[in-house]
């Protein structure tokens, strides 16, 4: 039995840890491959969203490379993602593939269901080793997201252009090739150490941008055309409100905690949307935009795949939040046809605008000492 799984941002690192620790045989589709995405697009319905097409491409690549078991998880709800599994199975079977499909719904995953689905893989393994593997994988999710958060902080302030990118590229390469928790752990620690030694300009004040939107696209650097890197190299600090760790926390850990407080961002969204759920992460997009547009960030970017239903609703309210709080919001809609050059132009224009706005604010404050203006670095 050979397992394959789809990519979503940097989640592959922890999935690898889990499968390695359990000693299972698996095949990982290549990270960020245009070829696999093209296959997915060719076999998907036209108006299906981009995550579907990418995930399907990964599956086809996996099955072509000897895998016979597909591992897929989703969080349920009003978004189309709940039906990815059904349609994908249908498409793959009609293409002639024979495979075993393991589907997890994380929002009401019971121990029994997990045991039933994973049972055949875990025969002969002690409970302790399974728990240890799960804990290690969980730790990796959070550690990886933390590392990426650190890289975003360093990148916009680095003195030698491209240092952070180089460290992160090396880390990603290592994460894709090495096996086992120990090695991944070592790669993580090394990358963190290297990042901390990058020479940075401490007086530099970057423009601060918060990234909100659909979780797959905002956390997947391949489909979002490396938005974090691009903005960082333009001298902007990016805070990504969506990440794999966020997802795991919201849909997995939170359900295990008996006392459940209402999410802060859902609370903040209420003036604009009088309901708790509009499917997907739409309500979090609204709430996070509201929470982060009270001066802590200079601008907000909403990013989502074309035809994403929850985010379209959220987008309607963002104009209102922008009017009310005076923080610029830009919406980027991505699909397989998005051209990179036009995308960069829009990002540059947005960062430029935020920088001018920031400078103006400093001038209005009438500071005698000319404050060091946030400078703009261009992508080489």
């Amino acid at each position: 039995m050979k397992i394959t799984f789809p990519h979503m941002g940097d989640a592959y690192i922890s999935v690898k840890v889990l499968l390695d620790e359990l000693g299972l045989d698996y095949y990982m589709p290549p990270v960020g491959s245009h070829e696999t995405m093209e296959i997915g697009i060719a076999n998907s319905p036209e108006f299906m969203c981009l995550p579907f097409k990418k995930v399907l491409g990964d599956f086809i690549n996996g099955l072509n490379n000897g895998a016979d078991t597909i591992l897929f998880g989703e969080s349920g709800g009003q978004c189309r993602m709940s039906y990815y599994g059904d349609l994908m199975q249908d498409i793959l079977r009609s293409m002639g593939y024979k495979f075993n499909y393991i589907h997890f719904n994380f929002s009401h995953l019971t121990y029994k269901e997990a045991a039933r689905n994973l049972g055949p893989f875990l025969t002969g393994k002690s409970k302790l080793s399974v728990i240890k593997a799960a804990v290690n994988a969980g730790w990796t999710v959070f550690a990886v997201d933390k590392l990426y958060a650190l890289s975003r902080k360093i990148r916009c302030r680095e003195i030698k252009h491209g240092t952070t990118d180089k460290i992160m590229r090396e880390f990603e390469q290592k994460a894709q090739t090495v096996h086992g928790f120990k090695n991944i752990h070592r790669a993580l620690t090394e990358a963190r150490k290297e990042l901390k030694h990058v020479e940075i300009d401490k007086t530099f004040e970057p423009v601060k941008i918060a990234l909100v939107g659909e979780i797959f696209i905002s956390s997947d650097s391949f489909t979002n055309l490396e938005i974090e890197k691009k903005l960082g190299n333009m001298g902007a600090y990016v805070h990504n409100t969506m990440g794999v760790s966020e997802w795991i926390f919201k849909h997995f850990i939170k359900y295990m905690i008996p006392f459940n407080r209402r999410d802060k961002s859902i609370e903040a969204a209420q003036p604009y949307m009088h309901t708790d759920d509009i499917g997907g992460h739409g309500i979090y997009t609204i709430g996070n935009t509201e929470l982060l547009s009270h001066g802590s960030y200079d601008g907000i970017i909403q990013i989502y795949p074309f035809t994403c239903m929850p985010e379209i609703i959220a987008q309607t309210t963002l104009g209102e939040i922008q009017r009310k709080n005076g923080v610029p919001v830009m919406t980027l809609i991505l699909d397989e046809m998005t051209g990179e050059t036009g995308y960069i132009t829009r990002l540059e224009a947005f960062v430029d605008m935020l920088r001018f706005q920031k400078e103006q604010k400093y001038e209005e404050k009438n500071q005698k000492e000319p404050i060091k203006h946030p400078k703009l670095k261009h992508v080489s």
Binding site: Y83, T275, G280, Q315
Partner: protein, 319 residues
């Protein structure tokens, strides 16, 4: 029931209140129920009438370009009513029954409309959420009771009698005569607010009738038939409209008089992207060679091109 009516009638001030019902979106499914509900509450009910070019253009100019055409049209309807009514009623459909849910856009519809009209409209809302019980829906009736100044229990009783108990029955407004005749038929599939809106559907149903076809829609079948023919998602949550269409598509497949199927879909509809794919795959797996045409329309669609495609499709069937 009579007692409730007696109780409601003395509130004379309510007859001065005009409640607007936008004749779009789920009005095509539950318009009569809501009309009944508000007239029993003693309000004057005003409908926005059929979609006109003006309403469409107004809606398009008010909404962001990303939302689907039906939402744009709906916003246009609300805008038309906002000037001549005291309140506009927009139900927030979350789930219409067990194992059913609605398009996310229905969940955010009242809020989207309010923001698109720059808060210049008085809205009345109610949450329709029956998947996990009726408590949430009933609690949301409180705002209606406050707005109209009618005691909560009365509103609740009228709601249960005139809306809740009838949601499951086939009360949907349809232009199709009941009873399926044995004559060449075309099945028209799609959301009710697409196929019954003369403007958005470009008169598809009447055009087919002119060509002497019997037109069958999901409303020609009873809810039981639609649900029992579902090829998938039988005991799982799926979009209510999606289940209707999927179920009726496979039921029509069994009717010998159905010569072809036309699926009318608004551009970039999320639910249709799933449903049409499932239908096409289902048709493909059956032995009957059923002609199937998917027409995608948006606010820029020209009628001439639409007619050409329709004629070509009908020619193919007649041959």
């Amino acid at each position: 029931m009579n007692q409730i009516l007696k109780h409601a009638k003395p509130q004379k001030s309510n007859s001065d209140i005009t409640v607007g019902l936008p004749s779009s979106m789920m009005f095509y499914a539950h318009g009569e129920l809501w009309e009944d509900f508000f007239s029993k509450l003693g309000c004057h009910v005003e409908k926005s009438g059929p979609t006109s070019r003006e309403i469409l253009n107004r809606g398009v100019s008010l909404c962001s370009s990303e939302v689907c055409m039906p939402v744009k049209v709906f916003t246009g309807h609300v805008d038309a009513l906002a000037k001549r009514t005291d309140y506009v009623f927009i139900p927030r459909y979350i789930s219409m029954g067990r194992h059913e849910m609605d398009c996310p856009k229905f969940c955010g519809l009242p809020d989207m409309v309010r923001i698109n009209l720059h808060n210049k409209v008085n809205l009345m809302e109610v949450d329709i959420d029956f998947d996990k019980g009726t408590e949430k829906t009933k609690a949301s009736l409180g705002s209606i009771s406050n707005t109209l100044g009618i005691d909560y229990e009365t509103v609740k009783n009228i709601f249960v009698n005139s809306v809740q108990n009838k949601l499951d029955t086939d009360m949907k407004v349809g232009s199709v005569e009941p009873g399926i005749k044995n004559m060449p038929s075309i099945a028209v599939l799609g959301h009710p607010y697409m196929i019954y809106d003369e403007m958005l559907s470009m008169g598809l149903i009447s055009k087919l009738k002119q060509k002497n076809f019997q037109v069958l829609t999901p409303n020609s079948l009873t809810r039981n038939v639609r649900r029992s023919h579902l090829p998938i998602f039988k005991n799982r949550n799926f979009y209510e409209l999606g289940s209707d269409i999927l179920g009726s598509a496979s039921a029509f497949l069994e009717l010998p008089q159905v010569k072809g199927m036309i699926y009318l879909s608004p551009f970039a509809c999320g639910i249709d992207s799933l449903v049409t794919e499932f239908i096409e795959r289902h048709l493909h797996n059956t032995e009957k060679n059923m002609p199937f045409m998917k027409i995608t329309v948006d606010e820029h669609t020209g009628e001439a091109g639409f007619d050409t495609r329709l004629e070509a499709f009908l020619d193919m069937i007649e041959d």
